[in-house]
Amino acid sequence: MDKRVANADAAIEKLFDGATILVGGFGACGNPENLIAAVLRKGTKNLTTVSNNAGMVEFGLGLLLKSRQIRKMICSYPGENKFAEQQVLNHEIEIELNPQGTLVERMRAGGAGIPAFYTPTGVGTVIAEGKEVREFNGQKYLLEPCLRGDFAFIKAWKGDRWGNLVFRKTARNFNPVMATAADYVIAEVEELVELGSLDPDSIHTPGIFVNAIFQGAKYEKPIEKRIVRKRA
């Protein structure tokens, strides 16, 4: 078994117009930047993207908003990107806001064979509009459907040819959850390592969830808010 592909362009060969893509990352942290660049090159249109944020103006999903390849965004915190703001306020693209915990749980459920679940998040808010509310032990909960993608774009630190993945620090975020919830899961890694060199006890995403893997050509990894302290 060998899930390695040559590069990002080869990895998205099967991507089609109108596809739903789960895109890992929290802001610019843990972003599948090589895969996003490949989608930009391929010019795939009418995409639905599921990602916590809307990218930066010149990085991440912001690039695909600028090139108008996105038709709909499902996200929790799309602020801080002027292209996203313009296109949503002008009704050029559709947006579906999910509370962050609901967004990730919908995908966790989608990857685990659970079609829907009840959550206390969002009861009595706009999020509850049109949703079933049910009481358990005197408290109200909303019914939320699971969420899956045609593709998932995952960014990991290290991986092997079976697709076993290890993430680094807070770059983990949505990545391991999204890796469970799409029909075709592509992982880009900073370092592709020999099979057997990852400690089995320390693997975050077992290879069963991953369809294709490659080592990213380069990583920009921008910092959105650089906060430092002076040395004493």
Binding site: A28, P78, V104, P120, T121, E224, K225, R226, I227
Partner: protein, 226 residues
């Protein structure tokens, strides 16, 4: 005059953060929102171990990194560079919100645009203005054991932010436990808002004047001591 005004605003935020920090207890797991709530970390009493959670998947947030030691893979939920501490741990967003929704977080401190007398909270959007999302705020208020709002008492135009009924889209229904401002500490109770503490030199009447909701003055009203 911009500078003194800014300095004054910083001073107000610091006062609020110092008072909120008094609500921390040894062994607490706490989540601090962006802005004034983040400042609370600077005033946690010495000798007390409080573990700070970042909803993007970390327990044990440390101070800002030294210049040149920033790590793009290590940020807080405000996307700011941070550091790890001995005892820190990382996990996925699903585990993070499992902790939050599952009632494992002792305290969350958040900012607000409006809070009302039932403890309803509005802090994520103003319709028709900028494109904003709720991020993790709705999950935090639904799941944390205790919700404290740290905010300035009035908005930029001097209008009350503590309302009879929230007018902006809600973040959560009946979720707030306590409000800390530069003027007062107010507890949300089933019978409405109770004024527990006032800032030095501030009378309960003066607080009521800039508060739309009716305040009941606690019998043992105290002065904020920071």
């Amino acid at each position: 005059m911009a500078e003194p005004k800014m300095a004054q605003a910083e001073n107000i935020k610091e006062k609020i953060a110092r008072r909120v920090a008094q609500e921390m207890r040894d062994g607490f797991y706490a989540n601090l929102g962006v802005g004034t709530p983040t400042l609370v970390a600077n005033y946690i009493p010495a000798g007390m171990e409080v573990v700070l959670e970042a909803e993007n998947g970390m327990l044990g947030i440390g101070p800002s990194p030294f210049e040149g030691e920033e790590d793009p893979d290590l940020i807080n939920a405000g996307k700011e560079t941070v550091t790890e501490l001995p005892g820190s741990s990382y996990f996925s967003s699903a585990d993070s919100f499992g902790m939050i929704r599952g009632g494992h977080v002792d305290l969350t401190v958040l900012g607000a645009m409006e809070v009302d007398e039932k403890g309803n909270l509005a802090n994520w959007t103003v319709p028709g203005k900028k494109l904003m999302g709720m991020g993790g705020a709705m999950d935090l208020v639904a799941g944390a054991k205790r919700v404290i709002i740290a905010m300035e008492h009035t908005n930029k135009d001097g209008r009350p932010k503590i309302r009879k009924t929230c007018t902006l889209p809600l973040t959560g229904l009946e979720v707030v436990d306590m409000i800390v401002t530069e003027l007062a500490v107010i507890e949300v109770t089933p019978k409405g808002l109770v004024l527990r503490e006032v800032a030095p030199g501030v009378t309960p009447e003066a607080v009521q004047k800039v508060t739309e909701a009716k305040l009941r003055v606690a019998e043992d009203l105290k002065t904020i001591s920071i």
